[in-house]
Symmetry: D2
Subunit: 129 residues, 4 copies
Amino acid sequence: MALVFEHDVNVRWRDSDALGHVNNAVYLTYLEEARDAFYLRTMGDPIYVIVRLEIDFRAEVRYADRTVRVEIAVERLGTTSLTTSETLRTAAGEIAAEARVVTVRWDPDSRAAVPFSDEQRAGLTEYAQ
Amino acid sequence: MALVFEHDVNVRWRDSDALGHVNNAVYLTYLEEARDAFYLRTMGDPIYVIVRLEIDFRAEVRYADRTVRVEIAVERLGTTSLTTSETLRTAAGEIAAEARVVTVRWDPDSRAAVPFSDEQRAGLTEYAQ
Amino acid sequence: MALVFEHDVNVRWRDSDALGHVNNAVYLTYLEEARDAFYLRTMGDPIYVIVRLEIDFRAEVRYADRTVRVEIAVERLGTTSLTTSETLRTAAGEIAAEARVVTVRWDPDSRAAVPFSDEQRAGLTEYAQ
Amino acid sequence: MALVFEHDVNVRWRDSDALGHVNNAVYLTYLEEARDAFYLRTMGDPIYVIVRLEIDFRAEVRYADRTVRVEIAVERLGTTSLTTSETLRTAAGEIAAEARVVTVRWDPDSRAAVPFSDEQRAGLTEYAQ
């Protein structure tokens, strides 16, 4: 049975903008925090680059939420690329955003994409939908 | 002939992360700066909410760029919603990101979507692709 | 015996800049997160404005710290103003920064300073050095 | 006669918080943008670390300001350290903040303070108050 990775992120006062809710760009920071933790768990380090991101904004997040939760599942696993399905939930459990994110495993020295190892593929497959 | 709206954004030192390039979430801030200016130009104020965003990351932006340019065109104009095609370029003119963004014209008092006026529709249509 | 208020803040990847450490402006965000929690605890809401801040930067914070701790004590309690002594510590307990911050209790409706109530003064006094 | 270095910074929508004004931590980002430009002008690169900062917040900055101005003067020039007096002004010219900032010229390879060269000292002295 497929696992879903869950990670909580604390909402900061600084995350809100003058409309009184968390700014849209900060949603990507919340997702990034959770994705870094997911990479760390399944691959030992959070070194990747994002190549594509789609996000549907469903509900506001507010400072009063204090904590939001991100759920991550693996949608597609390529040789060097990973497509994740990422859901952001408010403190009440409501869906605030749904995203699909394509990342590529990265070698910072050669500045090039690198294939996932067999062990990493096994770890990621546990979260395949 | 269709117009393309152009807006320059200054890159700040704070925009970069520990990989030495501008963080992915900040790309949305660059787009937002330009989109706010576009709304201001065509509608008189930048009051809207984002409902969907797709972005392809094509190239890094660095502090040394100092300024990036955003180009905005209208892809689809609905009753209350607007789909824009947004291109982010580095100082050298290279495409750093391409985005499609769906926004909805917003009434902050009723917290609901509102239709564009005829005058606003005329202004937006000048930028239709 | 005087209490010291303690509050932990999670370090985000986004907090670092191109020098690979947490950017100086983010130190103020860490202090703000803790101060908001302190105001909430002692006054029921975090509504205040900052009028003065002094900060000595002692050590770097890095993403690898994952969590930093802020300690807050009351240095001086005026009619409408509060001077706090705020210490930021790395995950290893090292002092990353020491700050003295003067805030003023604020009424957002009248946009003016307001005196602390007797009950608020009693709560704040428990943290007096 | 002493020069004052001036640098304009564009205000972004993202700079504001839920109180509808620019967040206090962002004031440090505005000062940093100007200080980086000042270091670049007088020393050829903006490589330094901040060791101490004092700031008095005098007035709000709002998104409607669109641009703020930072003025920088040299208050004290040491062997490896520089004390600057930094003033942030709203679009209307009102003082939003006054800061005194101590920075140290930094060698990122040895991770240690390095003395200013004679040429750098000459350049900085032009801005001495």
